[in-house]
């Protein structure tokens, strides 16, 4: 049995935690009035000079085990392919910020993206992206889903995506997510909505 004085002590501490939580929530709500309206549309990095466009990135959240849509500004480039690359680099920068909800290695990068008609895209990652990726089914699948959904939902006409590492097919991203086959966009979206 847990001694009575310990129970009383724990109950008192819990009460204190709850009441401080309520107070904190109140404080945040007041502070939030300054922030919340604009926060979700904050640019990921200061936009480059010149025209920009607002896009929706699908950002992985490890704790929730899900993707969250997030608005971002990217430079408005000339071609479809360049736009796809800017898009995924903007996504990558979110994952490389300190305290990211789904951290990726600072050296991780997208080498290039090829848009192959009809309907296929090939994402070529650098070696550091895969070599330094955390190993685990959830973490790897979230990375894949985030890349595939962000690309497919912003680049019209992409319905399947292949992922290469340094221009070559690799068996898995970091021991789990299978990279030997292409990802079907509809399947990935439906899996994300489960």
């Amino acid at each position: 049995m847990i001694p009575r004085h310990l129970l009383i002590g724990v109950a008192a501490l819990l009460l204190l935690v709850v009441s401080m939580g309520i107070y904190l929530r109140h404080m945040r709500r007041q502070a939030g009035q300054f922030e919340s309206s604009a926060a979700d549309a904050l640019p990921v990095t200061p936009p480059a000079s010149g025209p920009t466009e607002t896009v929706t990135l699908y950002v992985a959240d490890d704790a929730a085990g899900a993707l969250r849509p997030r608005a971002a500004q990217i430079p408005l480039p000339g071609g479809r392919q360049q736009r796809a690359e800017e898009l995924l680099r903007a996504l990558l920068r979110i994952y490389q910020q300190p305290g990211a909800l789904h951290p990726l290695a600072p050296a991780a990068d997208i080498r290039s993206i090829y848009l192959v008609d009809p309907g296929a895209a090939v994402i070529d990652l650098n070696a550091a992206f895969a070599d330094q990726h955390r190993s685990g089914i959830l973490s790897e699948q979230l990375t894949v889903n985030s890349l595939v959904e962000t690309l497919a939902l912003n680049v019209p006409g992409v319905n399947r995506v292949n992922i290469l590492v340094e221009g070559k097919t690799r068996e898995t991203l970091a021991g789990h997510a299978d990279l030997t086959e292409s990802f079907d966009v509809i399947t990935v979206e439906q899996a994300g909505n489960q």
Partner: protein, 485 residues
Amino acid sequence: MRWSNKNSAQYPVPSFQRKAGCWVLSTGYWVLLATVTLLSAAPAAEEKHISVYSPVAIYTLPVLDRSGREYVGLLELLEPLGRVSSQSEGQRWKLRYNAVDAEFVAGKTRAKIHGRNFDFAAPFLIENSRGLVPLASLNALLPRFLGTSANFHESARRLFVGDGGIQISFQLDASNPSRLALNFSAPVNPTISTEPGKLRMAFKRDPVVSPGSQPISFANKVITQASYSEDNGDAELDIAANEPLMANFSNDRRTIVVSAVPPATPPGIGGTQNPAAAPPAATIASGNSHRVLAVVDPAHGGDERGAALTDQLVEKDVTLGFARLLRHELETRGFAVTLLRDGDTSLTLDQRAAAANVARAGIYISLHAVSQGSGARVYTALLPVEGTNKGAFHAWNAAQAPALPVSRIVSAAIVAEMQKSEFPVHASSASLRPLNDVFMPAVAVELAPGEDGIADLTSANYQQRAASAIADAIVSVRDRLGAQQ
């Protein structure tokens, strides 16, 4: 609430609010930490238990400290062994076990059992109508009820009822590589872990008994010593060595062969337990053709270590220990079980799929472990939507597609059972081989730490809870599994 990525310079928060927020946050943190510490410290101090080994049941019971003595509930102790009932009247407590009547008085050391006096080493106690007896008297007390001998290892709190106990003998083969065979008089199911210079076998539910009072030394360069110890209801056997060791089960889990980890071999070539080379049909050929065969696949192995869970702990070792527990849980529920590896062996994903397909298993379960997150995740294969974009692109996934609906039923059953035992759990899909390549219902379970953090991943209790929930789930859908064959 999201705290990161707020640009406070651009959207300033009044400074007094930020300071107050910080104060509340940091104080809250310390209070919470203190609460958690208190809560976790309190039960940790009372985890004393007694293990009881009898031919009819093996179980553990909590041990209570009263006035410097250790006590156990007598009704709870006898209940698994026979018909028992009790009655409490004020200071008197009556108990009937099969045909033996007994009467006890709270605070007294003298009791009456089957008409004869019995003297306890410390007073009998009544708490909430439960009769408590001192552990120190169990050796004398139990034969009065059971009619058989009882052998209580008091310092380790292990109680052996009737004759029995599993004997251990050692057999060293000093040829290269050195191998130490541990022969047990009955099948055993220890949790095996390694640390530098040592391989440890923890026997939580096996009535193994000491092979001698002194550690056994071997005149061998690699394997140097075996030492046995027992404490708080559990027994442990440590094998000391100068090289990293691995253990393999054989002889229907009556033999464990301990040997040095061999130098790395290319996948698919080395490994005496390559299931692709020798289809594991032995388990189903045991005379019961109606038993469903479960193929349990401890993911990774050999050179392919899986995730580095800590500096010392790699995923392939956790998945193997977890797989052995799951095998035990499934076997006790009437399944035939094949582990795709029962040692530190390399297997390719194709070999794993082939082994499951050749064995015509009713269910395939792949086990993984991860250091992030909490609880468990259950995965089914991520396959393209029916009717979209078929053709050469998706021909590969034909194997799992027909079984996928049942795989999802299995996954949902595992989630339901784990939730019943308050295990945080989620289900999702993953492009994870070899789930895509097997014909039968297939799931992968990724085990993450629980409340005790990363230590849970090697905790027998934690793994046991997960394994038992998975096994219960598979039993609940057993009828759906045979149809695939």
